[in-house]
């Protein structure tokens, strides 16, 4: 059985310095402690933190980012292998522990390849250069006569030597400062389709997720948390819980008032998960519900909707919106309301922790191992070197597992019980105590002139901010939440963006594609509405609205290019054969959105028959610059389509008296196999910098569906989910 094997923090790796967020090469040290190194009789060549070549030719490559279906363990390492001219069949991937020496390990924001592509190339190219030097030295020939190919160094005379046979010499060499990278046309793995390195383990049930981690004498823990966010325990009676076979103890844990601190509650300690769950149900607890007990989703939606029907804080003001509206031939205005969403990854939050003295080792499905380490260090008041965060496979993450509150709980309990523990959330715990995707109200107003050209665009929105999780009391959107509205890629002379007040009543977090869900929805649905008002074809209208080819100056390091945006829309339309006659009751809808520096368009074919919606086909085109693994990108976009459909069809979390009303997959539903369309993906070939993949496929799906429904029924849905209208 293969578990993700971690490099021990105890195996000291000599680095010659770490710049913030960057990686600097180390040299010639063993990555692995003796205990963990299966190949301890072999000598190793470690040109840097990510590469270990063993003298038998086997190659160990390190994945520093978390694997949650995003394919990073395959994509990042394949970049190293490509530059190194390594034989992919000789590669074993090992998972890095949480340690700043690896640079940024936060696996979110669709940035693993964006951040690490060049670095991984350097890692591989350095190893290759040193192996060439080693061979040249061995043969006493100039390096220029040597080249690397498929795990061999080859001399111009035709003689060759395997990588493993060069370890002894290579390990004595200085690490070169400047190495030459391959020319893209010589790539062997980059830009091709590689199967996941973990697929065999996945299909045999051998991959160890956090939930599968076991330690000798490990205790299983379930925790009852206050139904209202940040409420606390007034009193509890554990009598009935302790009667349950397998229940060993019941203890209260306090809230840790930090963004990723534990919520606190009453913990049931047991010899197995089932006993812990049953014990939790048997607890009798009185709660202090606290300030958030007035949270009522219906009332709250009315409040934030009122806040977008009046002037808000101005975030952007270009031209003269009042004049545009005054001189308008036609005015269109619409209000959008979207509910909270829960991540609901298939693997619930869980963690194993073992605190021994002032040291602690954690095994957890986490997207943020370094953040986790900081939280554990803070709680234990210990030193970083004494805390090891092992990253297991993640059974889905979607942003939930960026927040290590559940790991802090495990650490608290291990310390309290002086034993290894596994904290397991029930599905109900997960749905009821998430860091929710925000709830939002948006108001859009636009003016058209006589020719149907858009002359003014006003976008007001109110939604509790992610910033409120970090700075309690923040009640307006933060800058990063405004950008996707203020950077709307439309060529409109007069534009105004305003933000309305929206205090947070639950923990607000980031969920796959984040703010682009509400903004991508309102922008795409409203633009479609304007096309109808202008009496134009939605595709032509949209291309005109995006306007002339130009690079938009944003505050981000990567500028966005409207030509690339229009290009993905044109490709999706071509693949869908936009304009062709569809079967009776079917129609196309389109959406196009730029997020995580990536351009995505989807054309969705739906039917509505007897008021029942079905999505038949989705044609998606993506331009993510240079790309690494075609297979993974296709998978991510197929998955994003289903993720986007789930939120469009069913996604709705509501609160009443401060408590979340949904419980499990029966009332927080997911799209299933019978709802699934055929997703057709085209990836634009590009030599631009690599950009995001995991998230940008999501925001286009819901608006494209709503736009398609309009074509059939003439009814426009401004609020989600569509299950509220009986359509699904």
């Amino acid at each position: 059985m293969r578990i993700i094997k971690n490099i021990s923090r105890r195996s000291f790796v000599k680095t010659i310095g770490i710049a913030s967020g960057g990686l600097i090469l180390g040299c010639n040290t063993n990555l692995f402690s003796d205990k963990e190194d299966k190949n301890k009789n072999l000598t190793n060549f470690n040109p840097n933190l990510f590469v270990q070549l063993n003298s038998d030719g086997s190659l160990i490559l390190i994945a520093s980012r978390s694997e949650m279906g995003n394919g990073v363990r395959t994509s990042l390492t394949s970049v190293i292998a490509d530059e190194m001219e390594a034989d992919w069949n000789r590669v074993t991937v090992q998972q890095a522990v949480g340690d700043a020496k690896y640079g940024d390990q936060n696996t979110d924001g669709s940035r693993s390849i964006r951040y690490l592509y060049e670095t991984m190339r350097q890692m591989g190219a350095t190893a290759k250069a040193m192996l060439i030097t080693a061979a040249a030295k061995k043969w006493q020939v100039p390096e220029s006569e040597c080249s690397a190919e498929n795990h061999f160094i080859i001399h111009s005379s035709g003689k060759k030597i395997g990588y493993g046979d060069l370890v002894e010499i290579a390990k004595t060499l200085e690490v070169p400062k400047d190495v030459k990278l391959k020319s893209p046309e010589d790539f062997k793995y980059i830009g091709k389709s590689l199967r996941s390195v973990d697929v065999a383990d996945y299909v045999q049930g051998k991959a160890t997720f956090g939930l599968d981690k076991r330690l000798p004498n490990m205790k299983f823990v379930a925790i009852a948390r206050c139904p209202v966010t940040f409420g606390s325990v007034k009193s509890f009676d554990k009598t009935e819980a302790l009667k349950i076979a397998g229940v060993q103890d019941v203890i209260e844990i306090p809230r840790i008032e930090r963004p990723f601190g534990a919520l606190g509650g009453v913990a049931v300690v047991a010899s197995n998960t089932w006993a812990a769950f049953k014990g939790k149900e048997a607890l009798k607890i009185e709660w202090n519900y606290g300030d958030n007990s007035d949270y009522d989703s219906e009332k709250y939606m009315n409040e934030i909707t009122a806040n977008v029907h009046k002037q808000g804080k101005v975030a952007k003001d270009v031209g003269n919106i009042n004049k545009a509206f005054k001189n308008a031939h036609k005015i269109i205005e619409s209000t959008f309301q979207l509910p909270h969403l829960s991540h609901a990854p298939m693997e619930v939050p869980n963690a194993v922790a073992w605190v021994q003295g002032d040291s602690c080792e954690v095994w957890a499905p986490t997207q943020a191992p370094q953040t986790t380490r900081k939280e554990v260090v803070n709680y234990l008041k210990t030193e970083e070197e004494k805390v090891t965060i092992n990253v297991t496979f993640l059974g889905g993450g979607f942003g939930r597992k960026s927040k290590p509150d559940y790991i802090v709980e495990a650490v608290m309990l291990s310390k309290a019980l002086n034993a290894p523990v596994q904290v397991v959330w029930t599905r109900e715990d997960d749905i009821k105590h998430d860091y929710y995707h925000t709830v939002s109200a948006q108001y859009l107003k636009a003016s058209l002139d006589k020719n149907g050209k858009v002359t003014g665009w006003l976008h007001r929105f109110a939604m509790p901010s992610i910033a409120s999780t970090f700075s309690p009391g923040v009640d307006y959107a933060a800058g990063f939440e405004i950008a996707s509205a203020s950077n709307v890629p439309f060529e409109i002379e007069n534009m105004k963006i305003e933000v309305g007040k929206a205090p947070a009543k639950v923990r607000i977090g980031w969920l796959r594609s984040v703010i682009n869900i509400p903004h991508g929805f309102s922008e795409n649905v409203f633009a479609d509405e304007l096309a109808i008002a202008a009496n134009k074809d939605p595709l032509e209208f949209r291309l005109d609205l995006i306007g002339k080819d130009r690079i938009e100056e944003t505050k981000d390091p990567i500028k966005y290019n409207t030509a690339r945006l229009k290009n993905v829309l044109k490709i999706a339309a071509k693949n869908a054969e936009w304009g062709k006659k569809l079967p009776e009751g079917h129609a196309y809808g389109l959406a196009v959105h730029y997020s995580f520096y990536t351009y995505v368009a989807s054309i969705v074919e739906v039917s509505v028959i007897n008021n029942k919606l079905k999505v038949h086909n989705i044609y998606t085109a993506i331009d993510c610059g240079t790309f690494v693994n075609r297979n993974t990108i296709k998978a991510q976009l197929e998955g994003a389509a289903v993720f986007g459909m789930s939120l469009a069809f069913y996604g709705k979390i509501t609160a009443k008296n401060g408590a979340i009303e949904q419980n499990n997959y029966h009332d927080y539903k997911m799209v299933r196999i019978n709802d699934t369309p055929n997703v057709h993906v085209e990836i634009v070939e590009s030599s631009e910098r690599p950009t995001g993949v995991g998230e940008p496929g999501v925001p286009v799906i819901a608006p494209a569906i709503v736009n398609a429904i309009y074509q059939i029924t003439g009814k426009r849905y401004y609020n989600l989910p569509l299950s509220d209208y009986g359509l699904v």
Partner: protein, 153 residues
């Protein structure tokens, strides 16, 4: 003592008879390929075959499995192995967590239907949620398995 037969191996375990089969398999016997997803029979992550019929082991008491053959993802069955092969060929899994349950459900389908249509697949697999959205590949991989079987025979 409760006697179970899992993947042709016999186990004697000391648990309450109302413990769901899932937790007996995962926490007592230690086979962790079968997953907890919802605890209410809603998601299919915990599916195993009980005398060749798919059940959601999170809602079946362990006592209901006494005297029956249990097949989990770690076990051997001709259709399961062929499906695993196709699953790998088409790179079905993303995060992989729900896939043991998906594969068990697909095994049950092929055990009773040699050549399922898309509709047959949907009807059998509707109980299995995949939050990553691998459904399209699951469908293709089941069809691919049938193709492989036909080539073999």
């Amino acid at each position: 003592m409760i006697k179970l037969t899992i993947n042709n191996k016999k186990y004697n375990i000391d648990v309450e008879p109302d413990m769901p089969l899932l937790w007996a398999i995962r926490d007592i016997i230690g086979l962790t390929g079968t997953k907890y997803g919802c605890g209410e029979g809603l998601c299919g992550s915990c599916k195993v075959l009980l005398d060749n019929s798919p059940v959601q082991s999170c809602v079946i008491p362990v006592s209901a499995a006494i005297g029956k053959e249990i097949l989990t993802i770690e076990g051997n069955s001709k259709n399961l192995q062929l499906l695993q092969k196709s699953w790998m060929e088409l790179n079905v899994p993303q995060c992989g967590f729900c896939q043991p349950g998906q594969l068990i459900a697909a095994t049950a389908l092929l055990d009773k239907n040699e050549n399922p249509t898309d509709k047959d697949i949907e009807e059998e697999m509707i109980g299995n949620i995949c939050r990553c959205g691998t459904y399209q590949r699951i469908k293709n991989a089941i069809h691919r398995t049938v193709e492989l079987k036909n080539q073999q025979s």
